[in-house]
């Protein structure tokens, strides 16, 4: 188990900077998710921690020990890949045993460790099979087994669930979370899937362009996105963003007016309203009216695309129990405290 510290970690490929002076401390036993679109530097970060790529600049510390230039096998980390990366010619048993064999673990120890890992992952009955005889979910369990047997300092996971179908992804997600609870090891988990990030993480680092945009708990990132990018990246359906100005302690855009008492007047801003932050109208709420253009029922919730005031187009969650029809008017209530304001120029959150 280890505390992982990245100090000004930088990776360049020729003229391209994939990772720009990353500072990140991952606590012992923490589940850290690196979240972002492709090319944001999250996988590069993971590869640097694993030692599969060399840093251009900066330092990497495991429990205070400088490992920046150590080869992968001397870092005591285990890695799980999106493609599973199982050795196709080896049986499940041999796949899981492989890292132990390379460490010259005694035969009895290997047998015990492999069996224990297989039991834990419920693949004990598959030990004689070869990878091509397994389903995707079973393969990923074998890959997890190969990681577990080593009792590594940290688990590194590179989009481990992205090749699985939706139903399996959910069950594997809980399996990984349970593993983390049982093993109490440091997990670094790369994904572009916000639902995975929200459900698994102790903390999420949202990345873009080789930089961390925000580092916070899942709730923190959802409730207080640090900038427009983070606000737009998390949330499904995505947050509604409306450009406007602060005048007289309110957000203004043509006839649309929403209270924003703490923002300084005259500022050009972007207002963020999450679809799920609307309710039935009530005295303490600000009314918001529009016409329903499209209704999307999801079973648990219904979302409506609404042409709102001042030429805006909004996606709103229809309050429970309401029946809405396309072409009809709708009026909901908005809690001003749940509105997000961002500076239009810097894209940063306005406190």
């Amino acid at each position: 188990m280890a505390t992982i510290v990245c100090e000004a970690l930088t990776k360049r490929y020729g003229a391209v900077t994939a990772l720009d002076a990353l500072d990140l401390t991952i606590a012992h036993g923490e589940f850290m998710v690196l979240l972002g679109p492709s090319g944001c530097g999250k996988t590069t970060t993971l590869n640097l921690i694993a030692g599969l790529e060399e840093a251009s600049e900066g330092r990497l510390l495991f429990d205070g020990r400088d490992v920046t230039w150590l080869p992968p096998h001397r870092r005591e980390v285990a890695m799980v890949f999106q493609s599973y990366a199982l050795y196709p010619n080896k049986t499940v048993f041999e796949n899981i045993a492989f890292p132990l064999r390379l460490r010259r673990t005694p035969r009895a120890g290997i047998e015990r460790a492999v069996r224990a890992a297989a039991e834990q992952l419920e693949i004990a009955h598959l030990l004689d099979r070869r990878p091509h005889q397994l389903s995707g979910g079973q393969r990923q369990r074998v890959a997890l087994g190969r990681a577990i047997v080593r009792n590594p300092a940290a688990f590194l996971m590179d989009e481990p669930l992205s090749n699985l179908d939706a139903a399996l992804r959910l069950s594997m997600r809980s399996l990984i979370k349970r593993l983390h609870h049982q093993l109490r090891a440091t997990f670094v988990y790369v994904t572009h899937d916000q639902a995975e990030a929200m459900t698994l993480a102790d903390r999420i680092a949202v990345m873009r362009g080789g930089l961390i945009q925000q580092l916070d708990t899942p709730e923190g990132i959802y409730e207080r996105p640090a900038n427009l990018f983070v606000a737009g990246f998390l949330g499904s359906p995505p947050i509604n963003l409306i450009e406007g100005r602060i005048e007289d302690g309110a957000f203004r855009r043509a006839e649309l007016r929403l209270p924003a008492p703490r923002a300084e007047p005259g500022r050009e801003v972007v207002l963020g309203l999450r679809p799920e932050d609307v309710e039935a109208p009530a005295p303490h709420l600000v009314p918001l009216a529009g016409r329903v253009e499209l209704v999307s029922p999801l079973g648990s919730d219904t979302y409506a695309e609404v042409s709102g005031p001042a030429g805006t187009s909004l996606t709103l969650r229809v309050p429970k129990g309401w029946r809405v029809r396309e072409g009809e008017g709708i009026e909901v209530g908005v809690d001003p405290a749940r509105l997000h304001l961002f500076d239009r120029a810097t894209e940063r959150r306005i406190a």
Partner: protein, 292 residues
């Protein structure tokens, strides 16, 4: 009467020319040579060709030269196939890495393969030449040799030197086949093996080699078939000599058929060689292929 639809009739019509040509140039010679192998056909007595059953085959098996030819062919084939395969693996490993000039090397690799067999034979004959050969010149100037040697005149070396010329020409295709197989190995396997703690050699042993198996089998079968029947280099470089040092089966067939004009035994020999090739390929596929 077989009833054919329009599509079938059109297909039959379109396929007919190919089938006809194949019948004339492939099926007929194969069957006709088998017929010859069962008759005592000697070209110096063209009108007398009595049926002798398997006598030609028995005569061949009783012939001391046949067993010499089998031994020479075996040595040549084993050396050529082994050297081609090992070299091809090494070259493929090298060219599978990214380094400056790698594309150029890739293109150069194909030159020997593109060289016609006869040109290749002549080239190596010159290189081995006893009076003005490159090999002699090089070794003497380097001080390795005192004086020029007749390389191909050394019965202990002849087969190996011819094998060397064959490997030079055959290795590129084998390497290319293996490079293609290597390119299909997922990069993640190497990354996983690195994290698991495997060094360069272990990664080759546990990731590259198992994945290369289909390619290796293709190379083994193909190179064996090519080598066991090889003829061009023997004709150009040594004509079976010195003595019987390079007296291989294919050369025996040529001598028996076109120099002694005994077509009957020549055809029998050809059938034996063809069956041996067939059997070997079958065994390779049967025993190596099963473990894929």
């Amino acid at each position: 009467m077989l009833r054919l639809g329009y599509d079938e009739r059109a297909a039959a019509l379109l396929v007919f020319p190919v089938v006809a040509v194949l019948l004339v140039v492939a099926a007929f010679p194969i069957l006709y040579s088998f017929w010859i192998s069962l008759h005592d056909v000697v070209l110096t007595r063209p009108l007398r060709r009595p049926f002798v059953g398997l006598d030609n085959y028995l005569r061949v098996f009783a012939d001391e030269r046949f067993w010499i030819a089998v031994a020479r062919t075996t040595v040549y084939t084993v050396v050529t196939v082994a050297a081609t395969t090992v070299l091809a693996v090494l070259v493929a490993l090298l060219l599978n890495e990214a380094f400056p000039g790698q594309r150029l090397l890739n293109a150069l690799l194909l030159l020997p393969w593109a060289t016609p067999s006869v040109v290749n034979g002549l080239m190596w004959k010159w290189i081995y030449d006893p009076s003005y050969g490159l090999l002699n010149g090089l070794l003497v100037q380097l001080g390795v040799l005192e004086r020029y040697r007749a390389w191909l005149g050394d019965p202990d070396l002849t087969l190996l030197l011819i094998a060397n010329a064959a490997v030079w020409k055959q290795m590129p295709l084998a390497a290319l086949l293996l490079i293609v197989t290597m390119k299909a190995i997922p990069e993640d396997l190497y990354r996983a093996a690195k994290v698991d703690g495997a060094g360069t050699f272990r990664r080759f042993l546990h990731v590259t080699l198992p994945a290369l198996r289909p390619g290796l089998m293709l190379v083994l079968v193909y190179e064996t078939m090519i080598s066991i029947r090889h003829f061009d280099l023997f004709l150009i470089m040594t004509q079976g000599g010195p003595g019987d040092a390079s007296f291989t089966l294919s050369w025996f067939i040529y001598v028996e058929t076109f120099r002694s004009l005994r077509f009957g035994t020549g055809a029998a020999l050809s059938y034996i060689l063809a069956m041996a090739t067939f059997l070997l390929s079958y065994l390779f596929i049967r025993f190596l292929g099963r473990r894929l």
